[in-house]
Symmetry: C2
Subunit: 217 residues, 2 copies
């Protein structure tokens, strides 16, 4: 595979895709988006062609530097290691790095997988809203507690990090599932601060090439 401009396989409303879109924006990496609809045609992620790129049938998937990468946090760590400037997504101090990864994993392993589309389909239409709310409330309760000791302006101190790239898309999911955010003042505050930044705005689900008109900002 020739290494040209990176190509991101993305779905406008996928919170894991959004994490990577923020990273690409913060690092100023020019890339093309190839939209994969998780809904149209029974889910374009299940086509044979896409499965050769990502056998998990998931977005995001990134073609970059002649390789194909999947799993949003693995992609972000790769971008960090190969393109550390202009914005670092992990602090220099190992303990702070651990806190960033801890918060990122709390969201990426502890919340998001349990409320994603494929799980909610299995749970069934009648109970899926209550299921998603329970998962997010449980995770956000823990996250709020963690943030009270790690947060400054952002999730870990006053420097933006990978943890913030996980936070904002997860809050958007929470809002979509009508979770009351008033119990999570720190999450709420950091989310609002981050949403004022350009990298979070250009990568927002409402501003993607595959955003349907009714979801456009």
């Amino acid at each position: 595979m020739q290494a040209g401009k990176p190509v991101l396989y993305s779905y406008f409303r996928s919170s894991c895709s959004w994490r990577v879109r923020i990273a690409l924006a913060l690092k100023g990496i020019d890339y093309d988006i190839l939209p994969i609809s998780l809904i149209k045609d029974g889910g374009q992620q299940f086509t044979k062609e896409f499965k050769t790129l990502n056998p998990m049938s998931q977005v995001p998937t990134l073609k970059i530097d002649g390789i194909i990468l999947t799993q949003s946090l693995a992609i972000i760590e790769y971008l960090e290691e190969t393109r550390p400037t202009p914005v670092r997504l992990l602090p220099q101090d190992p303990k702070k790095r651990a806190h960033v990864r801890m918060i990122s994993d709390l969201i990426a392993s502890g919340i998001q997988p349990l409320q994603n589309l494929s799980v909610l389909k299995k749970v069934g239409q009648e109970t899926q809203l209550a299921w998603a709310q329970a998962v997010i409330n449980s995770g956000f309760g823990a996250l709020e507690h963690v943030l009270q000791s790690t947060a400054g302006k952002y999730c870990v101190g006053n420097e933006i990090s990978m943890a913030d790239l996980c936070l904002v898309p997860q809050v958007a999911n929470a809002e979509r599932f009508k979770v009351d955010l008033s119990s999570y003042p720190t999450i709420n505050r950091i989310n609002k601060t981050l949403l004022t930044m350009e990298a979070f705005q250009v990568s927002h689900p409402s501003r993607q090439p595959d955003t349907p008109p009714e979801f456009q900002a």
Copy 2:
């Protein structure tokens, strides 16, 4: 908090705890285990005391260097950054590092959270075996495909890595849920190779201080 000998809060059968136990063994780190039963007393992870350590009420949790860390992969990355010898758990090459993290996340975000005890409880006793099998088969199908292009003797080439620390405990879960492993020859082969190593044996669920007699090797 004073930094003394590290303390691992662990449950013998928790696959995420096992990942960290393997890392500690490979790196030759002396530590104490403090068992947290996920079953006794309605789950010791839910006590107020434990929740102050880990608000997610999950094992593993590691006290080390004066801080408390949660999330197995964040813990392993911290051990790697602060104790790179005698055995490295991430390769030097950024592309290979990305493959290691991709496989680790495939298991840690894409399989394990969907078949852990708390989810199976919510799914209900009648359907939990079929649910767990479906999740593991779907993930292992993808993983087998990925490994066919990344694996050598181990998950990524011929050096042991964090991906291997995720693989073996997940295969043990698969066996517990009676998943037929014959469709996954690469997974099966790597698992068997790894299980011959001392670090995987001393950390095995059958050899922990909290292993009940009926699960002892």
